[in-house]
């Protein structure tokens, strides 16, 4: 095999055409190396040639994405490349979007590897980290040298089909994939080592980073329970018997909304749990142990609460993505609000 054929994607700025005033530049292709392509070419040390550079203005790309994609794909295809390199985009948001979109498209449409580079907070990262290898860069073009130093070795591995190491080893942005491996040191020992380091105030590296959570301030309390409509929500997977909507036992992709207006009590005959992350025996015996309809119905009859809302919302909180849970609740909270629910009891297992 001869030299690896690379097509490079750049925006109008890095191609030297102009700044924001030229961001409406339409897709264009030039033979050979342009701008940062020089540094990338040098990094390859003769193992790869940048045969062409495709240039597009960031605004044109953002505003006419479908047209731009089609034009750019045609331009790239003609050169029969083995690899596409986009950017790096550093912290430029629209450029990041363009780089990610072009890289993703090329992988899917031309079946060749693609790679780009971005600063971790570039919005393109969230959009494309799972589908495209994105080298982690500094937040400005001052980090070009560093970016190229990481980009070139990973690009070569991708083209050659070699095994790709972890995000940290290779310098790309974590893709949210977990890879099993065998360690010489068993888990308990690794955990204790980490704990000891933590207690000593030393640096340690978690094997499973927790996602960052944001905060919402508490709402004012309800003034009069006896007039309040109370809604029930659960992540404990309680569903009507038979799980009519097939909510998954883990990594749920959906939630359910079910009528409880006709129930005074949930029983093994009427309801069950779909949750695969805890022993379901107790919840299946008496689903009120997770979703306490019986007590709330009593309190409603006694006038302690105004009303139990006619529907409950449920999903399975078992390895379910934070983003999914957020999306479910964004939807059903609007409904709860619209239905005049004054307060919610959310139960978790």
């Amino acid at each position: 095999m001869g030299n690896i054929r690379v097509v490079h994607y750049l925006n109008q700025f890095f191609a030297g055409i102009g700044g924001e005033d030229r961001a409406d530049h339409r897709p264009e292709v030039r033979e050979g190396v342009v701008g940062p392509g020089m540094a990338i070419k040098a990094g390859f040390k003769g193992q790869a040639d940048i045969v062409a550079t495709v240039i597009c203005g960031d605004s044109y790309f953002g505003e006419n994405t479908d047209e731009a994609k089609a034009e750019i794909l045609e331009m790239i295809k003609k050169y029969e490349p083995d690899l596409l390199i986009a950017g790096p985009a550093f912290n430029a948001g629209r450029y990041g979007f363009a780089c990610g979109t072009v890289a993703d498209m090329v992988q899917k449409e031309l079946n060749i590897p693609a790679i780009t580079g971005m600063y971790e907070e570039n919005p393109g990262v969230e959009m494309f980290r799972k589908s495209v290898y994105i080298i982690s860069t500094k937040n400005s073009a001052a980090g070009m040298r560093d970016a190229v130093a990481k980009l070139v070795p990973l690009a070569l591995k991708l083209v050659r089909g070699e095994e790709i190491g972890s995000a940290e080893e290779e310098g790309y942005i974590e893709r949210g994939l977990r890879k099993n491996y065998f360690s010489d040191i068993r888990g308990s020992e690794r955990a204790v080592d980490m704990l000891v380091k933590k207690l000593k105030g030393e640096e340690y590296e978690t094997e499973y980073p927790m996602p960052a959570f944001d905060r919402v301030p508490p709402n004012p309390p309800i003034k009069d329970l006896s007039k309040a409509t109370i809604g029930l929500v659960t992540s404990g997977g309680i569903v009507p018997k038979g799980n009519p909507d097939h909510i998954e036992s883990s990594s749920a992709s959906k939630y359910g909304k079910y009528d409880i207006s006709a129930f005074d009590d949930l029983t093994a005959q009427t309801h069950e749990t779909a949750h695969g992350g805890y022993d379901p025996v107790y919840a299946n015996e008496d689903p009120d142990r997770v979703l306490p309809v019986d007590i709330l119905r009593d309190l409603e009859k006694e006038g302690i609460i105004g009303k139990l809302h006619g529907y409950f919302y449920t999903t399975v909180g078992n390895g379910t993505a934070v983003a999914s849970a957020k999306k479910f609740a964004e939807e059903f909270s609007q409904e709860l609000k619209a239905d005049g629910v004054d307060a919610v009891i959310l139960t978790s297992t």
């Binding site: 508490p218 709402n219 992540s235 107790y282 302690i304 609740a329 909270s333 709860l336 139960t347 978790s348």
Partner: protein, 77 residues
């Protein structure tokens, strides 16, 4: 989920067993539960006793909904 409910302006109480997770997730009103597979029950108890236990937890949760708070609060006994 608890945060998205709170975000639309509905006060919400989280009944859960693993309180630290609830705190991490960002629930503001938290009532500790019995156990992971039966947060609002205890299969070792007689049916009426178990219902009484469940009612106590619910009453505590309802009380939490009537209390003004500024920070995350765990409503113990």
């Amino acid at each position: 989920m608890v945060k998205e409910i709170e975000r639309v302006g509905i006060p919400v109480v989280h009944i859960c067993t693993v309180v630290p997770i609830s705190l991490t997730v960002g629930a503001n009103r938290i009532v500790p539960a019995v156990a992971i597979p039966h947060p609002l029950g205890d299969p070792k108890l007689e049916i009426q006793e178990e219902k009484d236990l469940r009612r106590k937890i619910i009453e505590k949760a309802l009380r939490a909904l009537t209390v003004e708070i500024e920070l995350q609060t765990v409503f113990e006994d």
